[in-house]
Symmetry: D3
Subunit: 249 residues, 6 copies
């Protein structure tokens, strides 16, 4: 099966990292299709940037629709996820969503750990949006500058191990999510250095996307994710405008 890894950040380095980490857990026969945002910021970190990224995500999915079996909204805050579930009929899963859902099978409470203070409010809002606050022990970020978004995982490795250990001993986390696309692959590497399971967003998303393809759910025609009726628009990308206008048959 083919799974689109739609990275709403403009950094192709981050996309490469996501795909490499995802391949470590993908089933034989699963192909991960990389896609990098054509516009926006190198790395989404705030609610303002997520608003921009949400719109870009819809454009990206509209452009590539028909070429894959399922899609991954490949930034931890799941920008555009709700809207995508309205517009499209393929399964789509968010990285934050998949990480949290998988974490629920590994502990009573998970913690979310990442590398930049700026991410915290956005992550807190996505935890709430998914109704997962009751399962979340803490959201904790490093608070120091980093050199390069593509190498932040290596640069901050020991600090992230320390922080992960701290949320276990101080915040009662049973499982730790290493959050943020630039940290993709780190959970595998650090497996033995934290005393609880680590969850990697892209890896969780790949396994859930595979599961969804196998479960083969129908597209809703009622409920909140039914497709909205056709509507004209102006100023949007052609492919997205076509989807919104139902000119995508």
């Amino acid at each position: 099966m083919k799974i689109l890894v739609a990275n709403p950040n403009t950094s192709t380095g981050v996309t490469d990292r996501l795909v490499a980490a995802g391949r470590l857990v993908a089933s034989p026969g699963t192909e991960l299709l990389p896609m990098t945002a054509p516009r926006g910021v190198p790395y989404i970190a705030t609610r303002a940037e997520a608003a921009i990224g949400s719109a870009v995500m819809l454009e990206m999915l509209a452009e590539k629709r028909g070429t894959f079996d399922a899609a991954i909204c490949a930034a931890f805050g799941d920008p555009g996820l709700g809207g995508a579930r309205e517009l499209f009929d393929f399964p789509i899963v968010g990285m934050a969503e998949a990480a949290m859902l998988m974490a629920c099978t590994l502990g009573r409470k998970f913690a979310i750990v990442s590398f930049a203070k700026a991410l915290e409010p956005w992550f807190a809002e996505i935890v709430d949006w998914h109704g997962m606050s009751g399962r979340c022990a803490a959201i904790q970020m490093l608070d120091s500058a980093f050199t390069n978004i593509n190498d932040v995982a290596e640069e901050k490795e020991q600090l992230l191990v320390d922080l992960a250990n701290r949320v276990v001993t101080h915040n009662g986390a049973d499982v730790v999510i290493l959050a943020g696309a630039p940290l993709a692959g780190l959970a595998t590497k650090l497996r033995e250095r934290v005393p609880v399971p680590l969850v990697d967003g892209i890896q969780a998303a790949v396994t859930m996307a595979e599961g969804l393809v196998r479960l083969n759910p129908r597209k809703a025609t009622l409920g909140t994710f039914r497709r909205p009726g056709p509507k004209e628009s102006k100023g949007l990308s052609d492919s997205l405008a076509n989807v919104i206008a139902h000119r995508d048959a």
Copy 2:
């Protein structure tokens, strides 16, 4: 004082209605500046359209910044509100937010009533985002087609009165919010036809925006609404790119 009424829908008819309704309650000396979205859909009704509208809202505010004292995010689901509070230093209030906060002073539970079934999931999410679900008795929508977005308030007037009465008697609402920009002004007109207070989003927003200007709060330099550090971007409107890059001094 000057208050920007930033309508993220592309319908100027809706903008006109918003400004007319707002003027009924504005203080002497308050000027409402109308602005209509340059791109997007005529009327935002879904999460997908709200994602697009959120990005457009940020562009609109970036373009006009410096010409007003406060802004109103003038669609009921408050698209882009959180991001706007990060990026900008002027007070900004959402129509859903203002309606719910004012409703809290008029009843223990409010209900939200509007004209189109499609709006319900988006409205439900904005109620949650504001942490107001505990004060919300019901979100109820009419379920029939309408002829024209600019005249839907008149076309559906009696049905909306009936629905407002029903949420009072069946759902325990102490106050009813007539939600959605196309219903602006209706609360004043229907005042005596529903046995509890009616709240109009734009009118609530105008009074709260005025209050915020008088309270004159400082811009946060810490906390989740501090301004993010400067960042480069690509493909965004010049004014928004400049704000994100801190080239807006």
Copy 3:
């Protein structure tokens, strides 16, 4: 318009401070009418004293009804607010209520800071009563004695600045409410010494009361704030007994 500032404490010094702070933000043409409790305690600080003050608040409003356009329940715990909304047909807003609602437009989470440990349980209950616990990051009080209730704002100024800074850095507050009638006016003075917006209860209440008068909501005849039917009583103040018996036409 005329707004009654009904102070349920017996200290006229506190009433003077409330009115002075309120005037700083009132619109041109708004007159603040001071009223001090004729019986009770100099400064309400506990649930027992709030119970007494709630009954006194109803007496005060009954006595002055007909002489103002809106009323402010001018103690931070909003004593008697719910009952007042049943009995009377003018808009009334509580100081805790107004502060919290305004704070919601300035941050995701607010903190409440005040000068006396004894106030904490009462304040915690009013936050819950308003359904605002999900937006409240912390309630923190100074824990040292003060010399005089009328001058406590000046005496504890630096300690309050320190505490406000602490709730921002330690508790994640985006906005800080300086709570309690004796601190009225302090938010304006300390504006630049705390890195997030400060909210003053009386100032928030004045702007919300003005907004409510402009919105001109009807009195509910259904729902939980409809007026109760007439009832006889014994031992109450004449004016309150008359309101309860519907002898107030």
Copy 4:
């Protein structure tokens, strides 16, 4: 042991009914001391009346202190309960509180049923205040006038049975609280006419008060129910003023 049944309503008929119902379940050796409010309304039904009754409850307890081992705040909305726990060192239990706590041992969800629509908002607030909303399946009231508060239990008996049955079959109640002092004793009488356990507020309160006396808990000197420091007041009853001023040794 001696238990004060402090009825904050002015109807002695209601007091008599409470004591008679309480005696049916009291242990041998337990004496119930009746006390009727000297001022207020015949039957508290609203938040405004509860505010008055809360202050009266504190006066009543202050007057009789020293003559009993425990007290019951004998109206279903528990007026003044929080304040009483601050001021006094004897155990005190509310009728709503005791009914809900006992109901928790008899079912996953309880419903509250009573005779007058006006009571609903007040009861809803006391359920919340006790943190019991998650265990409450429904609050349902009869909606017809009654002839006399002293005989309402007999007059509405069949309607209350019907309503109790309805909350079991329609609202998922495992146990039904027959709420309100005027219904005291009805649970015993109707035991076989509703298919789930019935709970009577005064009977639950008598058994919990007895239990508290046997457990003999100490008075808190820290925490939110520690006694407040001494304070002067004006215009209060002598006995209450003395308690507040610590002149009650």
Copy 5:
């Protein structure tokens, strides 16, 4: 009346301690019948052991049914309580349940303190199951090994006093529950060494069980605690199999 103290642990020393502590508060005429689990572990401390103990509890109650008026599920996590309420028609109360319900009458927030870290997750789940998380300030355990389960109360006495004091000053507890069957009786002994009321699970359970017998509630024939229909089983104890098959008349 006769109350069965059903200890699902296999330690008779713990049973003896429970009965001795319970007798200190039992009414004249109340007889406590001790029963110790015939199989399982000496002291239940985890969710796995509680799962085993839940099944054993049902067997114990089935075996002794008909010989008592009420039963106490005498381990703090209330193993088997929900199932017991389905199967049997006598009142039954859990030690955690009774302790928390009684604590609610003594403070706004209770804390749970016990002697072994391993107990924490199990206790946290029982607090949630009872819907009491909103009233729970903290669950805190000692974190050091103990010599003997029968003497752990004496061995850890000072450490438990210190921990109880800490939850009052650091976590805002108004009342402290000394949890776990091996600590039975300690609350009485330590009464003056902690500045808030202490609650003992078995003592709370005895007084609530007495109250339930006096209230004499009927067995539900509808709702979630109605008795399930008869069903065959295999491999269960004869007495439990008979109850499940309705061969217990």
Copy 6:
């Protein structure tokens, strides 16, 4: 990989149905190992039966440990799941858990539909235990008798379709979980007869178990699912006693 399908019911017919439905979605190379409870009831439907089944589940897993890569707790209420995560080091997923987590990716709110009224309280508790109540729109059961547990899916097919449609239109469900082991496989068959996605517990569990094996999380040595220390027991199955005593190396 090998996945143990541990059915805590004693019906082998139900086990066969589970395995057949699971195979429809299993990856190539996945082998499902069936196991049926050696003791207990034919079909667990109540909290009492779940208590028994929880203990049996632990025995089953202890007996087969070492012969599979992951296990499924194959009854909808997930009996014994928490305890199993403490004792064992292989991934284990519950059928209710997997169904709800997968449903979260397909809708904002799921409903749970099943064939017997008796199941409702047990299912309600497992939804709460997983912290999923906020995502659950309704739990609705058929209320008529059935002939045979092995054929109930076929017997009630049309009634289940009707009920599933009703929770979509009346309760706002975006996705419907057909719950209970005897309904395994029905979701596939009814896919086109309900306008929203249907989720089958065993199929969701198989895909999540596969995902967990691929993610290869470590066993926690801290947090609430660390393995408890060794403990002696009496009267348990040898294999479970050995696991509890750490004699399973």
